[in-house]
């Protein structure tokens, strides 16, 4: 079920009413309702893969107890490995099996050994598998690290793993933050309700107006690269930067807003990333739930920056390489991750961290956009072709005809509104805030105008969220 569908709107209304008006007296009944609702939400897409979520839930619930009950460190570690191998095994099989087999065959062919490809399988990638496996892993790891006690409440734990607002595209919540919220009574507050609705409205604006508008032009250029010149690639890449931001930050805001309607607080996932003045700062603003996950469960265990300089740089690079691979089974994502790793290494070497000022913001934006070329290109060869064309054949800007030219203009308008709002928040937060205006009618009209813009400028019935594929 997609957030940007009427099915979801009706589903949300029904669950909300049942949650606060039928089973409101006992939070355990509410958890049962959320669990059922989450399985319906996921099963709407493909009910067969509910079994994977159920297996992941059972494994980590059981493993959590075994780790906690084991007295010696070695046994605890063995149980932790059960969780790691099971979750990463699921991820590896469904997401990476064919990629590694095909890469191996290609590599062998390049050195003269031809294999007939009989090993690849027709595997469907279950939506959200990268998100919920990481979330359940964090539960077992945090118990192993003694940051968390396992819960006896299986329903609460199962609801934590499958919580529908963030099940398929995050934010990847930590067990230490979310599990305790399932174990206590939630109170309906006007503040949560109001904030939740506002976050959802802005999330839909980001998705339907910014991302989906930009996508029309980006797809027209990136899916027909032989027909376009460098200038069109530059414009399409900048639009893609806003497309993926609008798409993913939009999803996150809708997820956070939906959670608030049920009395849950999820972590912030994006904090105006394109105002970062260095790449390292960018990664403290972009997909925060994933970058902190990698920081806590990979980078720091590798030694983080409390090691020799060479080892520190190695840790940075490996973390980003794996982060790239997490995004998808394609060399384009690995190259994107590696490039970001190299950026961070370069920043350490030239001591470019903690910079300020518009020049650094622009420079960072250019670097990030350059990396997005690998992320969006359909293949590594395409990415290099695009980069080469940008530098050798600027040519003319494709403005298309009919839908494409309109899409470009709508996208520019939408990005203009987004930049205005975010610039104000970043630098002039106290000035002219409609959401903090003392007159209620002004505040409500402000949000009504955003809804009007969604209905008037938004793209409807066209696309799902990009991060569903990860």
């Amino acid at each position: 079920m997609l957030f940007n569908s009427l099915e979801f709107f009706l589903f949300l209304c029904i669950v909300f009413v049942l949650y606060w008006f039928v089973v409101y007296k006992n939070h355990k009944f509410q958890n049962v309702l959320l669990l059922i609702a989450s399985y319906v939400f996921y099963g709407w897409w493909d009910w067969r893969f509910l079994s994977l979520i159920a297996l992941s839930t059972l494994t980590d619930y059981f493993v959590g107890f075994r780790i906690y009950q084991s007295k010696d460190k070695l046994t605890q570690k063995r149980w932790l490995w059960v969780s790691v191998l099971f979750n990463l095994g699921l991820l590896g099989f469904f997401k990476y099996y064919n990629f590694f087999i095909e890469s191996w065959i290609d590599l062998s062919a390049s050195v003269g050994y031809e294999f007939q490809n009989t090993w690849t399988l027709k595997v469907i990638l279950p939506v959200g598998i990268s998100f919920y496996t990481f979330q359940t892993l964090s539960y077992s790891i945090d118990i192993y690290r003694k940051k968390l006690k396992p819960t006896n409440d299986f329903i609460a734990f199962a609801a934590f793993v499958s919580f529908f607002p963030q099940l398929v595209a995050g934010p990847i919540e930590r067990a230490t933050n979310l599990v305790p919220q399932f174990l206590k009574k939630r109170k309906f507050t006007y503040q949560n309700f109001s904030t939740g609705i506002k976050l959802m409205i802005w999330g839909f604006f980001l998705k339907l107006v910014v991302a989906d508008r930009a996508a029309i032009y980006v797809d027209a250029v990136y899916n027909n690269i032989e027909n376009h010149d460098g200038l069109s690639f530059v414009v399409a890449t900048v639009l893609f930067a806003f497309q993926i931001y609008g798409d993913f930050a939009g999803y996150s805001l809708i997820a956070i807003g939906t959670s608030k309607l049920f009395g849950f607080d999820l972590m912030t996932n994006f904090r105006r990333p394109y105002f970062a003045a260095s790449v390292s700062e960018f990664w403290t603003r972009w997909h925060i739930s994933l970058s902190t996950w990698f920081r806590d469960y990979l980078y720091i265990p590798l030694g983080g920056n409390r090691v020799g300089k060479m080892r520190w740089l190695y840790n940075l690079f490996v973390t980003f390489l794996i982060s790239g691979l997490w995004h998808g089974a394609n060399w384009t994502f690995i190259a994107w991750g590696a490039l970001n790793g190299l950026y961070l290494i370069a920043e350490v070497l030239v001591n470019r961290k903690n910079r300020r000022g518009i020049i650094n913001v622009l420079l960072t934006f250019i670097l990030i956009n350059f990396a997005w070329i690998f992320f969006r290109a359909n293949s590594i060869d395409n990415a290099f072709y695009i980069i080469k064309t940008i530098f050798t054949t600027p040519g003319r800007l494709y403005i298309g005809s009919g839908d494409d030219i309109a899409a470009l203009l709508y996208a520019i308008l939408a990005i203009g509104i987004l930049l205005f709002v975010e610039t104000k928040k970043e630098y002039f937060n106290a000035l002219l805030s409609i959401s903090k205006n003392k007159y209620e009618v002004v505040r409500l009209t402000g949000y009504a105008v955003v809804v009007f813009m969604i209905l008037y400028f938004g793209v409807f019935g066209k696309s799902q969220f990009i991060y569903f594929q990860f």
């Binding site: 109170k187 309906f188 507050t189 006007y190 009504a448 009007f452 209905l455 019935g461």
Partner: protein
Amino acid sequence: MIKKEYKLALIKLVKFIVILLITDFVLGAISKQVFFSQETGKYARSTHAINETNAKVLVLGSSHAHRHYVPKVFEEELNTSSYNAGAEGQQLLYHAALQKMILKRTTPDLIILNIDEDFLYTSKEAYDRLSDLHPYYANHRRELKPILGLKSKLIGFKLFFRSYQTNSTIVHAIRYYASPQIDYKGYRPLFGKVKPSDSTDEILLNEEDKKIDQNFVKVLRDLIATAKNKKVNLVFVTSPTLQHVDNSKNISFTTIQEIAKKENIPLVDFFNSKQFVSQYKLFHDTSHLNNDGAELFTKLLADKIKRMKWINN
């Protein structure tokens, strides 16, 4: 305490919905005003066809209709009025909806539906592009709901909002205010000649993967029934082709032929017409006639209409 919070949330929600409806009503009315004040462009042509034209010979169809039928030639040859309501990129669902809206107000003597051979094959675009009809929903709910309902069962709810009815139309409006798009009673000529190097001897179509959409079949039958009910002569016409086309295995086209035969609807087939095949000077590109080709084609068709007495004059 909790009840107080519920009450507060409910009151604020109601206030927000009221303000939202007022905003939608006011801004939606402005956007509709902008939409219906367009004088040129595809929306202006559709609006003219739906709200104003009283032409006795009306043309419906996709870009082949829009670019191939010259109203002026019909008017000279048939001594009657004519309007070309062809719409580029649109398919059967759109044409059927347009026909219903037009026939609600006026009754032409003859409707010419230009047939594309793949009209009945499944097509996502045929459904997606129905959004061009949304601005007319408020005034033509009964005619549009069955067809728009094929795309979304909740269309009535979605189109409740005025702003959604004119979604994605403002750039089009601004564009043609700034640079008007000239047409001649709905017809827009193409100029220039196709080069022989752009064509192949015969078009081989891969029909194996194509499937018939039963909705399209139903809508075609409905279009015929609507014309019959209003006692309007309906003629199916295929446009001339530059290259020889073998449609014998095209299930879409053969199905249309069968329906036309069963329903007694004349089908004037210009596919592979000797006067046009390999006549590069009559084509703008491999698929569309240029102005010379369109005038010749319209004249030949007008002669046929006269001979067959499909209009009363």
